[in-house]
Amino acid sequence: MLEHDVLIIGAGLAGMRAAIAAKANGANTAIISKVHPVRSHSNAAQGGINAALTDRGDNWEDHAYDTIKGSDFLGDQDAIEVMCRAAGRSLIDMEHMGVTFNRDEEGHLGTRAFGGQRRARTFFVGDFTGQALLHVMFEQLIKSGIQSYEEWFVTSLVQEEGRVCGVVALEIRTGQLHAIRAKTVIFCTGGLGRVFEPSTNALIVTGDGMALAYHAGARLMDMEMVQYHPTTLAGSGVLISEAARGEGAYLLDKNGERFMKKYAPNMMELASRDVVSRSEQTEINAGNGVNGCVYLDCRHLGEKLIKEKLSQIREIGIDLAGADMVKEPIPIRPGMHYMMGGIKTDVNGLTNLPGVYAAGECACVSVHGGNRLGANSLLDTIVFGERSGSHAAAAAGELKFVDFSAAAAVQREEQRIQAMLNRPQNGDRVASVRLGMGESMNRNLAVFRQKTGMEETVQELQELKARFAKVPVENKGKVFNTDLVFALELGFMLDCAETIAVSALERKDSRGAQFRTDYPKRDDENWLKHIAVTKGEVGPEISHLPVTITKWTPEERKY
C-alpha cells in the first residue's frame, strides 16, 4: 500500500508550503490534489500579500490591530499575533524563492494600499500575486522532489483505532481507487465558494476538505462568516481585485456620487470588505444602482498605471463585460468570495482530531474572525501552511502507521460509487441540485440575512439532500469521469451549506460579514464568541467557543 508520514490533501499555496516544510523536517511526505498544483485556486488571489516590514518603519502590532479590527474582534488574537509576527520573514522567504515582486525606485519591495489598513503594507506582483506565488511554490515543490499525486480526488477518510489513518482516492484519469496510509493528514483543500451561486471562486472550490473533516468528527468554526467581495463583475461574477481601489479607484452610484462618504468617511473605498459590500448593497437596494450593480471607476488612474499594475483585471473587464476600465467605469456588485470559517485548528494547524491538521482557507485558526482583510489570505496560507507542515512532520515522528486493509477500504468506496452510478434516470441533474443550493444560499445567506430567509434555506437544503440521494450520474465510464467527480463534490457542498446556514441562524447579532436585519447590532455581551459545529447523530450540533483576546479590547468599529 502507498504510505506516507505526512499526507497533504490539496496542492494550493498552503498545501505546497506545508509539504515543503514537512519534507524539510525529515518526513516522508506526499501531496494529493484533484487538479494539477498550478491549477489550484490560490492563482486567483490578485492584489497582494500583507506583511509589516520593520525596515519600512512598520510593525507587526499595527498589522495585528488592523486585522483584529477587520475581523470585528472575532479573530483569535493569539493566532493573529503569530501570523503578523511571521509575515515579514515569510514574505522575504518567498522573494528569495524567486517571486518577482514589484519594486520601488530604489529596487526594494514596493507596496500598495489595501482595505482596512492604516498604511500600505501589501506587497504584490502586478495584479496576479497569487499566481506568481503559486507557480514559485510549485517550482520549490519540484526542487524538493516531493511525491505528488495529481488529479487524484480524495473521496473518503479511513478511520480506525480512533484515528484518521489514511484516505481513499479516485485517480481521475483511470477511474481506479487507491488507499493511502498516513500517520498525519493535513487538509489544505481551500474554500467552498461553489456552495453559493454566483461566486468568484473557481469551479473546483467545493469544500471537500471541510466536509471530509466534518464527517470524521472535526469541529468547524465561524462557518456563518462568508465574505462577499465588494467588486465582482456584473454578469459572470468574476473577481475584480481590491488592488483597483488600493491604487485609488472610486465606487460610484448611478449619479456618479462616491457613496462611500456616507458609510466610511475616513477610509472611503478602502474600508474593510464587509463594510464596503454592505454599503454597495444598501445603495443598490435603495435604487441607486444600475441593473443590480454600482460602478468601479478607474479612469483617473491613467492608462499607464492601469496597464502596469492592473492589466489582468482590465483584460477581464474587456473579455467578460465588454468594458475597458481605461475608458469607462465598469459595473460591479458584491459577490461571494471567501470563507472565513473552516476546520478549527490551533496555531500549529492541529484540529480536535489526533494527527489531523488543516491550513489555508479550509482552516479556521481563527485569524480572520468575522471579516478577512484583503491580502491576508495569501499570508495565512504561507504562515500556517508552513507551521502545520512542520508540526505534522514532528507529530508523525512519534506515531506509528495504523494497519488497515487497503482492499476493504477501496471496496467500500467502490460499492458506494457503483451505487451512485447505478441510480436510474429520474430526470434530475447534479447541476440542477447544485444550482438550487447555490441560489438559495445567495438569496438568504448573503450580505443581509434574517431568520425566516435562513430557515427557508435550511428547509430547502433538506429537500436538496433528498434529491441528491437519488440524482443520477450520466457518465458510467472510468476514464476522466468528471460527471462522477461533480456528484461527489455536490455531496460535500451540501454538508458545508448546512453548517453555514445553522451557524448563521445561531448567531443572533451582526458582526463582520454577518449582518442580520433582525439583529442589526453587534452584541458583545452575548455573542463575542465563536460558533462551532460538529456532526451529530441526526445533524449538525452547535457549540460556543470563547474568543481569545490578548491585548486589544473590543471597541466600536469605524472606518
Binding site: 492563482n43 528569495h96 473557481a202
Partner: protein, 324 residues
C-alpha cells in the same frame, strides 16, 4: 443566441474508440464564452463530455484547447467571436499531446519538459538578509514571462513539436528564460551559464524554427518565441556559440551585415563548420539536386546596391544589444 458547438469526442472505453465529431445545438447568453457553452453542454445536455476547467478567468490554465483549429483558452474566447456565419464553433483537444478523453489531453510530457529545465531559482552566493535589491524594470520584464499559466496552448500549436517530440518546446524554454533573465539567478557574474549551456543542446533553444505559432496561441501575451530568441542572444553572449544554431545565426548576420543579402552557399558551410567534413559531404546530394534543377545560388556573392545603408543599420543593431 443560438449556435452549434461541434466537439471532437473520444472515449477510449466505448465504440468507436476513435475520435469523431458531435454537434450540440444550444441557446446561450450573448456574453457567453466558449467555456460557458461547453459547461452548459456538460451540465444540461450530455454529462459524458469531459474537459478540464476551473477558474473561468484565464488564470488557472486548465481549459486550453483548439477552437476553430487554433489553440486558446475556452474561458477567454467569446462564443460570439468564435462562431462562423452559420453559428458554428469547432472545438477539439489541444494538439501535440495524447488525448485521454474528449477535450482532456495527457500533459505528462509537458510537465517533464518543465522539470527538465530545472525550473527554480539558483541564486549565486549567499542570500541577503532582506530582499534582493533589483531594478523594478527587471522584475516587470520577468513578470511578462511569469504571467505564463502553463496552459499548454503554445505547445499545442508548436510546429516543431509536431515533427520532433524531443524539442523542449515554447513553454519550457520560456520558463527557462524566466531564470536566465533573472538578475538573482546565476552561476558567475550574474550569468546563468550552466543553464545556457544545457539549453544550447539538441532539443533546446536552437531547434525553434521561428514560425510564430506560439506567440499567436499564448493567451497571456508571454510571446514564447521572443523569449527563445532572447535565450539565443544570452547564450551567444555567454560564449556558447560552438553549435550549428549559433553558427547559423552568426553566419547569417555576418553575411547580411556585410553584403546586404544572404550568401546561400556559405551559410550551410559556416553553420556546420568548415572542418566538419562528414556534414559537408552530407550537403552534396542537395547541392547536386539544386544544380540539376537550376537552383544553385550564384557562385560569386555580390553586394546589393546601397549596401552602406544596410551596414549602418547592422552596426546600429549591434550597438543595442539588450542587457540582462
Amino acid at each position: 443566441m443560438d449556435l452549434t458547438v461541434r466537439v471532437k469526442r473520444f472515449n477510449p472505453e466505448a465504440e468507436p474508440r476513435q475520435p469523431y465529431w458531435q454537434d450540440f445545438p444550444i441557446s446561450i447568453d450573448e456574453n457567453a464564452t466558449v467555456l460557458d457553452t461547453l459547461i452548459h453542454i456538460r451540465e444540461m445536455v450530455d454529462g459524458t463530455l469531459s474537459l478540464r476547467c476551473s477558474c473561468r478567468s484565464a488564470i488557472c490554465g486548465s481549459c486550453a484547447m483548439r477552437i476553430n483549429g487554433h489553440a486558446g483558452l475556452a474561458c477567454k474566447t467569446k462564443a460570439s467571436d468564435a462562431m462562423d456565419k452559420d453559428g458554428m464553433i469547432k472545438v477539439e483537444p489541444a494538439g501535440n499531446m495524447p488525448v485521454v478523453k474528449d477535450l482532456v489531453v495527457n500533459l505528462d510530457l509537458f510537465w517533464r519538459k518543465i522539470v527538465q529545465v530545472e525550473p527554480f531559482l539558483k541564486p549565486q552566493g549567499p542570500e541577503p538578509e532582506a530582499e534582493y535589491v533589483v531594478p523594478n524594470e527587471a522584475m516587470m520584464h520577468l513578470s511578462g514571462v511569469t504571467a505564463c499559466i502553463m496552459c499548454g496552448a503554445c505547445v499545442s500549436d508548436c510546429t516543431v513539436l509536431e515533427v520532433d517530440p524531443n524539442f523542449l518546446g515554447p513553454a519550457a524554454l520560456a520558463k527557462a528564460y524566466r531564470f536566465t533573465a533573472d538578475p538573482r539567478d546565476g552561476d558567475g557574474e550574474g550569468v546563468s551559464r550552466e543553464r545556457l549551456r544545457k539549453l544550447s543542446d539538441y532539443g533546446g533553444m536552437w531547434d525553434c524554427t521561428r514560425c510564430g505559432e506560439c506567440v499567436q496561441a499564448c493567451p497571456k501575451g508571454v510571446a514564447p518565441m521572443d523569449r527563445i530568441m532572447a535565450l539565443r542572444e544570452q547564450a551567444i553572449k555567454a560564449g556558447f556559440d560552438n553549435n550549428n544554431g549559433a553558427r547559423h545565426t552568426e553566419a547569417f548576420t555576418e553575411s547580411v551585415g556585410h553584403s546586404g543579402s544572404l550568401n546561400e552557399l556559405q551559410l550551410p558551410v559556416k553553420t556546420v563548420g568548415i572542418t566538419n567534413i562528414p556534414a559537408l559531404l552530407g550537403f552534396l546530394p542537395v547541392g547536386l539536386r539544386a544544380l540539376t534543377h537550376g537552383k544553385l545560388p550564384p557562385l560569386v556573392h555580390k553586394n546589393i546596391a546601397n549596401v552602406e545603408f544596410v551596414r549602418k543599420l547592422h552596426h546600429k543593431l549591434e550597438e543595442h544589444q539588450p542587457e540582462k
